[in-house]
């Protein structure tokens, strides 16, 4: 992970609040993103993800709280600050009659130190579409164009708001490769998504937001704490389902193997990020990460 701005965080948020009428969309949210880090904000629809991101982008004014993005308050930051951020909005449908090449070149002229438009077009994989108008692009290609326009200004920080919604799996995978290539450039990325696989694949750190608050955060591998990640060994004994939560499922299975000739209905279940996430959303009272729909590990 490269940090381009020393140790100063790219994003600092403390106690952020935003209310729309009766609805408290953001309710005391805290968030830190280090320079060069890729952070994914996960949460159900209506959790306050987009509101939070749009406050950070300078589109919306907050009711309360402390916000610094690249060292400035987005509410009052000027053009020089905008030149250092890249915004990829959720589902826009504009720019229909201009071609990919025209658009990337046109937007590059807004910035003091843009990337080479041709390099950007290559990087997002739209080389063969350079003369094609935005209207004729597929959903995935359009999103790549959105990213091209978001990064052509050589931003230090890129916001990606639900970038792969509506993609087919193949388009999603190649989009992830594109984001990975930004990481190697040292660009800080704040990503919102409701695809857990996407967060797991891309993010250094995952922040789970529900009801306008952060309910958990951590790397994709230890989100929810160690307990939530324990394997569950399940089998049938004396006509009843038995299960053991353990850090050492192999040993448990070995012990079982010693007692049975063939362990009846043996299963080893690992909670996926999705199980952990759903557990987190269900609230702190239920034990997180109950492997309701977990992947099964084949036993030898």
């Amino acid at each position: 992970m490269t940090t381009r701005h020393g140790t100063a965080p790219a994003i600092e948020v403390a106690g952020l609040r935003k209310r729309y009428g009766q609805k408290q969309a953001v309710d005391g949210l805290d968030l830190q993103v280090a320079a060069g880090e890729i952070v994914a904000i996960l949460g159900p629809n209506g959790a306050g993800k987009t509101t939070t991101v749009e406050i950070l982008e300078g589109y919306r004014h907050r009711d309360d709280g402390h916000v610094r993005v690249l060292g400035e308050d987005p509410q009052t930051a000027g053009r020089a600050w905008r030149a250092r951020i890249g915004v990829v909005l959720q589902g826009t449908n504009d720019l229909a009659e201009a071609s990919v090449g025209e658009l990337v070149r046109h937007f590059s002229r807004f910035y003091p130190d843009p990337r080479d438009p041709d390099e950007v077009i290559d990087a997002v994989g739209l080389r063969e579409k350079v003369r094609v108008r935005a209207r004729q692009l597929s959903g995935g290609q359009r999103r790549r164009l959105d990213v091209a326009l978001g990064i052509v200004g050589r931003p230090d920080l890129v916001f990606l708001d639900e970038p792969t919604t509506g993609f087919d799996p193949q388009a999603r995978r190649s989009f992830w490769d594109l984001v990975e290539s930004l990481r190697t450039d040292g660009t800080t990325i704040l990503l919102t998504t409701h695809y857990l696989e996407e967060a797991e694949r891309l993010a250094d750190r995952v922040v789970v937001v529900a009801d306008g608050r952060v309910v958990a955060e951590g790397t994709p591998d230890d989100l929810g704490g160690r307990g939530a990640r324990q394997a569950v060994v399940r089998w049938v004994e004396d006509g009843a389902v038995r299960e053991v939560r353990t850090d050492t499922p192999t040993r448990t299975v070995a012990e079982l193997a010693a007692r049975f000739d063939e362990v009846p209905e043996l299963q080893v279940l690992r909670p996926t990020l999705e199980d952990v996430y759903l557990g987190l959303l269900q609230g702190a009272t239920a034990p997180a990460g109950e492997p309701t729909d977990a992947k099964q590990e084949a036993l030898r």
């Binding site: 381009r4 701005h5 729309y20 509101t51 749009e54 982008e57 300078g58 589109y59 919306r60 053009r79 020089a80 905008r82 030149a83 250092r84 951020i85 915004v87 909005l89 589902g91 826009t92 449908n93 504009d94 720019l95 229909a96 009659e97 201009a98 025209e102 046109h106 937007f107 002229r109 807004f110 910035y111 003091p112 130190d113 990337r115 390099e119 950007v120 990087a123 108008r133 326009l149 200004g153 050589r154 230090d156 290539s181 930004l182 450039d185 040292g186």
Partner: protein, 279 residues
């Protein structure tokens, strides 16, 4: 992609100036305008088509319109109204619809997320309106002069009148278009909301009929709006001097000026980069 420039030098580099960006925007807007087929037909070609139809239908066998104490050939009588209509279409109608659609589709919001200054956005719009409007008027004038033998003014002072009426009308139409772009509830409904307004104004402002033949209440209603005075100003340029006096030209300047100022005030207050339902 490689990052070859250190961020310190990146931010130290100067941001592009608003005027240069405005010209860049204008180039882009004009190029894209001519790719929107329905906009080109309804905004750009409409006055020329209407001019051709009206002059051909009503001007058969050398028919004339009585205006004041002179008789004027139909084509010549209609030309000022068609120029005025063209100004309204390329400024008011084009901007009201285009900005409404761009707002609805998220294009304005996207621009707001870049370092493009608002001034450059509007300079671009003005450039597009002037570019398309002047081209449209030029085609109309050449068409009227060659196909219908409408006499063109030959002295500089008349063309000077043309210039200020044209620019003031375009400016008033443009700012009112920006202000009005917030009225349609969606981009889809924009042209259904905007087009009838311009069409009704054309009928009551004497574009399609001789002004003197309109009922007086209709004349009074039309006199509140800019199109009637834009027609009046253009008549001073293209009709014999008996038809429009200096008093009407002063009123033209005052009414168009008032709409310009009013449109600026309302437009500056009501302009939004985001959709109404977008928080």
């Amino acid at each position: 992609m490689t990052t070859t420039t250190a961020p310190t030098t990146a931010t130290a580099r100067r941001l592009p100036g608003p005027l240069a960006l405005g010209l860049e925007r204008a180039r882009y807007e004009v190029r894209v305008f001519f790719r929107e087929r329905d906009a080109v037909v309804f905004i750009f070609a409409y006055p020329v088509i209407m001019m051709g139809i009206f002059a051909a239908v009503f001007g058969q066998d050398g028919a004339t319109v009585p205006a004041g104490d002179v008789e004027i050939p139909f084509a010549q009588y209609f030309l000022p109204g068609m120029i005025a209509t063209g100004v309204m279409l390329s400024s008011f109608q084009a901007l009201a619809i285009a900005i409404s659609v761009e707002r609805d589709e998220g294009g304005l919001k996207r621009l707001r997320g870049t370092p493009l200054p608002a001034s450059a956005f509007f300079v671009g719009k003005i450039g597009q309106v002037l570019g398309t409007g002047l081209a449209q008027t030029a085609i109309l004038l050449v068409f009227a002069a060659t196909a219908f033998d409408v006499p063109m003014p030959s002295d500089v002072s008349t063309w000077a009148t043309f210039a200020w009426v044209y620019l003031l009308g375009t400016a008033a139409g443009a700012v009112c278009g920006v202000a009005f772009s917030s009225v349609p509830r969606s981009g889809r409904s924009a042209s259904a909301v905007v087009t009838p307004i311009v069409l009704i104004l054309q009928f009551i402002s004497g574009v399609f009929f001789a002004w003197d033949s309109l009922p007086s209440w209709m004349q009074q209603v039309a006199s509140v709006f800019p199109l009637r005075w834009l027609v009046e100003g253009m008549q001073a340029v293209f009709l014999p001097p008996q038809v429009t006096g200096d008093a009407e030209l002063v009123t033209t300047a005052l009414v168009l000026g008032a709409w310009l100022v009013g449109g600026l005030v309302v437009g500056a207050r009501s302009f939004r980069w985001r959709r109404r339902d977008d928080g």
